[in-house]
Amino acid sequence: MKEERRYKSGLIPSLNPFGFNIERWSYTVHRATGVILVGYLTAHIFETFQLGAGSAAWANTMAALRSLGPLEMVGLWIVAGSALYHGANGIRLILNEVFGKLMGKPILPVYPYSPTSLGRNQRVAVWTITAVVLLLWAWAGLYLLAGLGVI
C-alpha cells in the first residue's frame, strides 16, 4: 500500500481521537507527552553539556534560562505533567501489552456488544490514572509556580 494514495492516513489523522473511545484519547496524549519529554531531554542534555564548555558557557546558559522569566517554570510544569502522565499510562500499557491484564478473556459476543478489552477494568484504570496525574500535576504546579507570582 502506498502511503500517499491512502485516504486520510498519516500523522494528523492518527492523532485525531474525536468520536472514539477513551483509550484512543489516552493514545494521543501519550504520544504528545512523549514528544514533550524527548524535547525536554534533548534540551537538558544540551544544557548539562555546557558544564564541560567552561564556567562562562554555563553562566550564559543559566542566564538565558533565567531570562525566560516565569516561562521557565511553566515549561518545567508542563514537563512534570508529561512525565507523570507518560509514566503512569506507560504502566497501564505494560500491564495490557506484556501481561495481558485488564483485557478480559475471550467471550461469546452477546448483543449489545461491549468489548472486554475496553471494559470496566480498563476504563477504571484510565480514569484513575487521569485523576491521580491531575492531582499530582496540580501539586507540582503549586510547588513550581507559587513562588513566581504565576498563580
Partner: protein, 271 residues
C-alpha cells in the same frame, strides 16, 4: 427531525450535500440509497446484505468507521451527517475503497488450519474433535466479517502502511489458539516483526468500532503474550494445546457425541 442533510466526500469534489426527508428507522445506508435513486445516480458506494453480515458498507460516518446499514440516522444526534470513505485505504471512487491490500494482509497470515500431515489433511475421513472449552478460546475471533472498520480506525495503520493490521493479527491468533492447527511456527514468523504485533500501541479503536465484538485489541495482546512465552521465555505449547488427531473410529458414531455446546452460556451443556 424532519429532514437530514448528507455531506458526502466525493472524488474530485470537496463535499456534495444532499437533503432528504427523515423517516423513522432510517439508516445511513437507506439515506444513501435514496440519494442515488432520487437525487444523484452517480453517487458511488458499496453495499450488499443491508443487515450487518457482509461487511460491504463500511464507511466513515461522523468521523468514525461504521457499517452504514447498522447506523441509525437518529443515533447520530445530528441533522447533518458527514460520510467519507474508510481511512487508511485507497479511494477508487466516492465512498468505494480498494479493499485488495486489506484482503492481502488477511491472506498473508494464512487464515486456515495448517496440518503437518498433508496426506491426513487431504484425505481425512473423519472430523477433528475439539472440546467446547477449547472452542471458547477462539470462537469470538471467528466472527470477523472482514469489513475493514478496525483497520480504518487504527492509528498505527494510519502511520505504518506495512503494519499487518488488527484484522489480520486477530485472524492469525484465531488459528494459533485452535488446538487443531499446527502452523504456529509459520504464522509467528509473520507476526513477530516490527510491522507485526509489536507495532500495536493499544489505542483500542479497533475493538471500539468492531460491529461484531470480535475485539481485535484483545487478540493482539493475546498473540503478543503467546509470542513472549514461546520465543522469549521458551515455554513449550500453545494456548490450550493438546494434540488433536482426527477422531478415532467409533467416536463419530451415533451415541458417542460430544456434549452439546450452549452458545448462550459459552460452555458445554451439563447433561
Amino acid at each position: 427531525m424532519d429532514s437530514v442533510t448528507l455531506k458526502v466526500a466525493r472524488t474530485g469534489l470537496t463535499r456534495a450535500s444532499y437533503e432528504l426527508k427523515y423517516r423513522k428507522g432510517m439508516t445511513v445506508l437507506d439515506a444513501l440509497i435514496e440519494v442515488r435513486e432520487r437525487q444523484d445516480s452517480t453517487l458511488g458506494y458499496r453495499h450488499s446484505c443491508r443487515m450487518g453480515i457482509c461487511g460491504s458498507c463500511g464507511m466513515t460516518i461522523q468521523g468514525v468507521p461504521r457499517l452504514a446499514c447498522q447506523t441509525q440516522v437518529s443515533s447520530l444526534n445530528s441533522d447533518t451527517i458527514t460520510v467519507e470513505p474508510l481511512h487508511n485505504m485507497t479511494v477508487i471512487r466516492d465512498l468505494v475503497v480498494d479493499i485488495g491490500p486489506f484482503f492481502r494482509l488477511h491472506r498473508s497470515v494464512k487464515p486456515y488450519l495448517i496440518r503437518n500431515d498433508i496426506q491426513e489433511r487431504d484425505h481425512s475421513e473423519r472430523e477433528y474433535r475439539v472440546l467446547a472449552e477449547e472452542v471458547r478460546r477462539f470462537l469470538q475471533f471467528d466472527y470477523c466479517i472482514m469489513c475493514g472498520l478496525c483497520y480504518a480506525a487504527c492509528p498505527t495503520a494510519a502511520l505504518d502502511p506495512m503494519y499487518t493490521g488488527p484484522q489480520a493479527i486477530t485472524q492469525a491468533y484465531r488459528y494459533m489458539a485452535d488446538p487443531r492447527d499446527e502452523g504456529w511456527e509459520q504464522r509467528v514468523d509473520l507476526l513477530d516483526t516490527t510491522h507485526g504485533v509489536w507495532r500495536c500501541h493499544m489505542a483500542g479503536a479497533c475493538s471500539f468500532v468492531c460491529p461484531k465484538d470480535v475485539d481485535p485489541a484483545k487478540a493482539i495482546q493475546m498473540a503478543r503474550m503467546e509470542i513472549l512465552k514461546k520465543r522469549i521465555l521458551r515455554k513449550k505449547g500453545k494456548p490450550g494445546s493438546r494434540p488433536v488427531a482426527p477422531s478415532a473410529p467409533g467416536q463419530g458414531k451415533p451415541g458417542t457425541k460430544a456434549p452439546p455446546f450452549d452458545f448462550a452460556e459459552g460452555r458445554t451443556k451439563e447433561t
